[in-house]
């Protein structure tokens, strides 16, 4: 009976610890370049605001006190919430592709790193609507390119991946980065720009000798879709990161649009992912800039 109770308690212990292993770990927000940081009050500034508010309410007219009692939170200090786009976090499903990237990183011998989401990921596709491989071979076949793009990824996912092995073990001469489009449903333009900035800082930390080609996020969907102007806003903020030295910002988005601002179907069949023809446009636009960065 004693052995039985022992195994049961061990089993219960396993269940409880297994549960915490599966939980998301709480990470700190990554640092963001000052030129594009969202203004945030320090804890002391927040406390000052809260004390002033408390004093105001204490000395307020009776009807104001009644208002505060009736609607708690109506008169309040509003602190900007934490920005999820800068808190390193990789969704569990993406671990497998992350591990594949780790193997590539370990082998080293990489001239150029492509980093991003599905639009970057599909440079490796040989078939289907978004086959970028033939274009990759044609334009960059002479370079040792590593593609760490993962479909569906976000700024916080790239941050996590760089900090957890994808930013270690090799020294690329150049990094081509495009990330942020998958954050658009969740974060504001200013938040996504912070996310991109945090990734740029992380890349500089991981690869101090590399030059970074930072691409503006490509347009998507239709001209009247609010996501278009959101992307334009993100790009106008992150363009400030260009320093002409280690960080080179380039926006080639206009090349994917027709005169009316629509994305022709043969360039992006779903108005989001480039087709082979779309990849040609991309390769044409960045081939020379990348080669210059690598000299």
């Amino acid at each position: 009976m004693r052995a039985f109770c022992c195994s049961i308690s061990f089993f219960l212990l396993f269940i409880t610890t297994a549960d915490s292993v599966f939980s998301q770990s709480k990470e700190e927000p990554a640092p963001v370049p000052a030129s594009i940081a969202i203004p945030r009050p320090t804890p002391e500034e927040v406390r000052l605001a809260e004390r002033s508010l408390a004093a105001f309410l204490e000395n307020a007219a009776p009807e104001v006190k009644e208002l505060n009692r009736k609607y708690p939170g109506l008169i309040a200090v509003r602190v900007p919430p934490p920005n999820s786009a800068v808190i390193p976090n990789l969704a569990p499903y993406f671990q497998k592709k992350h591990e594949t990237n780790l193997e590539v990183a370990r082998k080293g011998d990489i001239d150029v790193l492509f980093m991003g989401d599905s639009i970057t990921d599909f440079w490796r596709n040989t078939e289907g609507a978004f086959a970028g491989k033939p274009v990759l071979d044609k334009y960059f076949g002479n370079l040792k390119v590593a593609n760490f793009g993962i479909a569906g990824d976000t700024t916080e996912g790239v941050l996590y991946r760089l900090r957890n092995g994808e930013g270690r073990g090799f020294s690329p001469k150049a990094v081509m980065l495009m990330i942020g489009t998958n954050n658009t449903a969740r974060n504001s333009a200013a938040e996504i720009a912070e996310g991109v900035g945090a990734v740029v800082l992380e890349l500089q930390k991981c690869f101090p000798k590399a030059k970074i080609l930072l691409l503006g996020i490509f347009p998507r969907s239709t001209p009247n879709d609010p996501v278009r102007s959101k992307i334009a806003e993100i790009n106008s903020i992150i363009s400030k990161l260009h320093d002409g030295d280690r960080i080179h910002y380039l926006d080639i988005g206009a090349k994917f649009l027709d005169a009316q601002g629509n994305i022709p179907r043969e360039i992006m069949t779903d108005a989001l992912h480039p087709s082979t023809k779309g990849y040609e446009i991309w390769a044409e636009a960045v081939k020379e800039p990348l080669e210059k960065l690598m000299r």
Binding site: M1, D19, A91, Y93, S118, A129, D153, V227
Partner: protein, 282 residues
């Protein structure tokens, strides 16, 4: 140590109970619906699978089912308006969880059909409108695993098909489950290979940044789509259908639409399926 028979029996039952509790949620294990109406519906769908020509196979729960159902004539009209000429057939069934859809796929509903395109909408009934605290991570892992199982069986039965995987739609019956929906959709977004498996998330066109449906997109129940919501869904699918199938033809050869068997019998009351918590299912 010698155990009495009663002690052993108690010990084994306790262990089995604990194991059952630990392994309760299993979205990746096929499980049939057992109510008689669902059994009849399955038979109807088996028959449907063998009829006509099916190029687009819609799969899901009641959110999918209603769109092409005879008992929702306004939604069926929208379906026909959008998809006529592409030979689209609807295999959704109401209140199905992922494991129920999995069972139907493993039990003949996709045999010999060989569609060009499969549209898959599922998952919301595995979330429900209430998730006990502390169980979110396990639930998200279970549902993700369920989707992987669905994709596996679809590849097995229809290896040539392009699967369009829909992100789980928002729910406004309890805003607290929205972060869980987002986290699952994040996992699903990573399943795309840009070729035979596409991920489509239309939630930013259905709802605002807080997940609240725009006016007219959903029914008052905050769960099922309304005609405007279905149109948003159709608008997202049609460019993909053009890409994968070409323009719609002037004729349509898909099998005729089916409905809810319990409503087909004159005088019978509609069958509302309720989960143990008494919440509406999709």
């Amino acid at each position: 140590m010698a155990w009495g028979r009663r002690t052993t029996a108690t010990g084994i039952s306790v262990l089995l109970l604990l194991l059952h509790v630990a392994g309760a949620a299993q979205a990746d294990r096929p499980a049939p619906r057992t109510d008689p109406n669902s059994r009849i519906a399955h038979a109807q769908l088996l028959e449907k699978a063998g009829k006509g020509r099916i190029d687009v196979y819609f799969e899901g729960d009641s959110i999918t089912r209603r769109w092409g159902a005879t008992d929702y004539p306004d939604l069926l009209a929208n379906w026909n308006k959008n998809f006529f000429g592409w030979n689209a057939a609807n295999f959704g069934w109401g209140a199905d969880r992922i494991e129920n859809i999995l069972w139907r796929l493993h039990n003949g509903e996709l045999d010999g059909v060989h569609p060009e395109v499969i549209v898959l909408q599922a998952g919301t009934n595995n979330i429900g409108n209430r998730v006990p605290e502390g169980q979110e991570d396990a639930l998200i892992a279970d549902i993700t695993s369920g989707f992987e199982a669905l994709i596996r069986v679809m590849r097995e039965k229809a290896p040539g098909a392009t699967i369009i995987l829909m992100g789980i739609f928002p729910r406004n019956d309890n805003m607290a489950v929205l972060p869980i929906i987002r986290r699952i959709n994040r996992n699903l977004s990573g399943m795309t290979d840009g070729n035979k498996l596409r991920f489509l998330d239309i939630n930013s066109r259905l709802a605002d940044e807080n997940g609240r449906f725009f006016a007219g997109m959903a029914n008052p129940d905050g769960l099922h789509l309304a005609p405007a919501g279905y149109q948003v869904w159709a608008d997202a699918l049609k460019p993909l259908f053009h890409e994968l199938l070409g323009p719609p033809a002037s004729e349509d050869h898909a099998p005729p639409p089916t409905g809810d068997p319990s409503k087909d019998v004159r005088g019978s009351r509609p069958h509302h399926t309720r989960t143990p918590a008494g919440t509406e299912s999709a």
